[in-house]
């Protein structure tokens, strides 16, 4: 270990002897990264500041990273919108239920197609890979869901998207890396395939399960299009992002929204400030979670992206 370190020391260019060009490069690179971070974070921090600012005051503009007239009215208004409360519940439900069911389904399918002895493994794989490239499109899907009575229900968020070929491929690649001897020895002890799946393969696949769960959870949390298409007339099954979209539209058109109604009733809010508050509410869970899951999605992406 220490020898290796010594070698590294030997080969590493000594920090003190930076040439002029190197200095210029490092400075330039630092400025580039700084600009990158500012461009990434500023809009989000700005939204945060506006969300805590008095709405009428915010219309004047000129708020940057800190609220000028502090107020929590925006948040009170958002939480007072019935649709937003329903949307929050539905979004949490679909994220939890959708992620769990999707994880089980994808893992089971990946398990099946990764068994070397499985009779139809290449046929079943091809059957699903095709779905990655060809799909019926919006309208046939819409009509099908109507026939199946999935429109106007909560399950349209969960059932149709349960299996994703891409996620199955990621999991399959990971499972193929697990030595067969584990499965064989378990089977010698009389374990069936289900036991092998639950007790032997799954515990070893925790990292890739976490990756896929993260992908699905983010998709579910951010979904709005299905709510708009399949549950347009059904306020019961609205989602957070769909409510956010309605707020966004009201900002763009500046008319006839819940926020405007609240504003004319003398509350100190504006569509923009209400939307900012709603945005922050939907961002917070993501911002709190994703830094801790980093290593999982990094592994997941490299498995799925590089090796395919």
């Amino acid at each position: 270990m220490s020898k290796k370190k010594k070698e590294e020391e030997y080969y590493r260019p000594k920090k003190k002897h930076l040439s002029g060009w190197d200095k210029a490069f490092y400075t330039g690179n630092f400025i580039f990264m700084l600009a990158f971070v500012v461009i990434t974070l500023y809009p989000i921090l700005n939204t945060l500041a506006i969300s805590f600012n008095d709405g009428i005051d915010a219309v004047r503009g000129g708020i940057h990273l800190w609220p000028r007239v502090f107020s929590i009215k925006n948040y009170q208004t958002v939480l007072g919108i019935q649709g937003f409360r329903t949307g929050a519940i539905i979004t949490v439900l679909r994220t939890v239920i959708g992620t769990l069911t999707s994880l089980v389904a994808n893992a089971l399918l990946a398990f099946i197609v990764s068994r070397k002895r499985f009779l139809f493994k290449s046929q079943l794989s091809a059957f699903w890979v095709i779905t990655m490239y060809v799909n019926g499109g919006l309208i046939p899907t819409f009509i099908l869901f109507k026939y199946l009575h999935l429109t106007g229900s909560f399950w349209v968020y969960v059932i149709p998207g349960m299996v994703s070929a891409f996620n199955v491929l990621v999991m399959r690649t990971y499972m193929q890396g697990i030595p067969d001897s584990l499965e064989e020895s378990a089977q010698l002890d009389g374990a069936g395939y289900m036991t092998v799946f639950i007790k032997i393969i799954s515990p070893l696949c925790k990292p890739v399960y976490a990756t896929v769960a993260l992908f699905v959870a983010v998709y579910q949390w951010n979904a709005w299009f299905d709510a708009m298409i399949y549950n347009r007339l059904n306020d019961k099954y609205t989602t957070l992002q769909y409510e956010l979209m309605k707020l966004l539209n009201s900002v763009m058109q500046q008319s006839g929204s819940a926020a405007d109604a609240a504003a004319t009733q003398g509350q100190a809010v504006s569509p923009q400030s209400v939307r900012s508050a709603a945005t922050i509410i939907t961002i917070v869970p993501i911002v709190c979670l994703y830094p801790f899951l980093q290593r999982y999605f990094v592994t997941g992406l490299t498995i799925g992206g590089v090796k395919e």
């Binding site: 990264m33 503009g61 099908l144 961002i283």
Partner: protein
């Protein structure tokens, strides 16, 4: 090289798969039952909608249904191709898709290479963690942020005015020439850090002795990037390019749908919005489906073209 490896692997796998015998079927009963479940599920949710493509050749009426609607041959496609609007949305889709593909690719590779050059692990880690964040935000949020930043009193106009570049604010969302660059920028903002993950992983797996050898030979930073880093990540770049080339035609729905308005509809509308407008809002299911089919065909053509181009240039390919 890679082909040989794949071939060998395939042969090996083929030799292991046993013949279909009663004994084997009995042994794999659980697997077979579950795979049947997945097969049925796949047929219903992925393949049945393909049957809906029949609608494009019919004068579909919801009352009569797919089975009893009147067939009209290629009439709907004729209507589609004689619609100047359709060519407009087709052009918009391809233009924005290509622009997005090129800009996000260059940004991700540039970012990965530059991030790799940063000294100090803490700073590297921090910048990288921050760079992922926008990927997790929905397009709704990104559009909202863009709208705030580019509005008449938004930070971009404010900055430009205070720097003296312009005298009065620019109405970014009402001028056609700004729309495509705005969409490309939004895509870069959202995905640069995320797309860079794969390149960074590829860069870190490069053998450090290559760089050491280059240093000894007097190779500078630029030479190392040009002769070691870029060639090493070329297979990754190619494979990702191939995967994404088929997506050029999918290049946009959400941001265009959310930001588009009547002033810039000529440049903002994409095929997906066209399908939505005709299919769901105007209830002309057949025309919407025909447009959808056209899109799928282009997508398949793009994937195969990309694949055979890669083959011609001796690169790694998808299938």
């Amino acid at each position: 090289m890679a082909d040989e490896k794949k071939k060998k692997k395939r042969e090996k796998e083929a030799s292991i798969t046993p013949k279909i015998t009663m004994k084997e079927i009995k042994r794999q009963k659980t697997l077979l039952i579950w795979s049947a479940v997945f097969f049925v599920y796949g047929v219903v949710f992925c393949y049945l909608p393909l049957g809906g493509w029949l609608m494009a050749f019919q004068k579909y009426k919801p009352k009569t249904g797919i089975l009893h609607s009147k067939f009209v041959g290629l009439d709907k496609f004729r209507t589609l191709f004689s619609d100047p609007q359709f060519f407009r949305v087709f052009r918009n889709t391809l233009a924005m898709g290509t622009l997005n593909l090129i800009t996000t690719f260059i940004m991700a590779i540039l970012f990965a290479i530059l991030l790799n050059e940063i000294r100090g692990n803490l700073m590297k880690k921090t910048v990288q963690t921050i760079s992922y964040l926008p990927h997790f935000l929905s397009w709704i949020i990104v559009t909202g942020i863009l709208h705030d930043a580019l509005s008449s009193s938004g930070s971009v106009n404010e900055l430009l005015i205070s720097l003296g570049f312009i005298d009065t604010y620019i109405p970014f969302f009402s001028i056609e020439k700004y729309f495509w660059p705005i969409v490309a920028f939004a895509n870069c903002w959202k995905e640069t850090g995320w797309n860079a993950i794969v390149y960074l992983a590829a860069i870190t797996s490069i053998d450090p002795s290559l760089y050491e050898a280059a240093s000894i030979d007097g190779g500078g930073r630029w030479a190392k990037i040009k002769y070691i880093t870029l060639p090493s990540i070329r297979p990754t770049i190619m494979i990702l390019l191939l995967i994404n080339i088929g997506n050029v035609i999918n290049a946009g729905f959400e941001i265009q749908y959310l930001l588009g308005n009547s002033l810039i509809v000529e440049v903002s509308e994409t095929i997906d919005i066209y399908v939505l407008r005709w299919g769901i809002s105007q209830m002309d299911y057949s025309l919407g489906t025909a447009a959808g089919i056209f899109k799928s065909l282009i997508s398949i053509v793009l994937i195969f073209t990309g694949n055979s181009l890669a083959k011609a240039f001796g690169e790694e390919r998808l299938f």
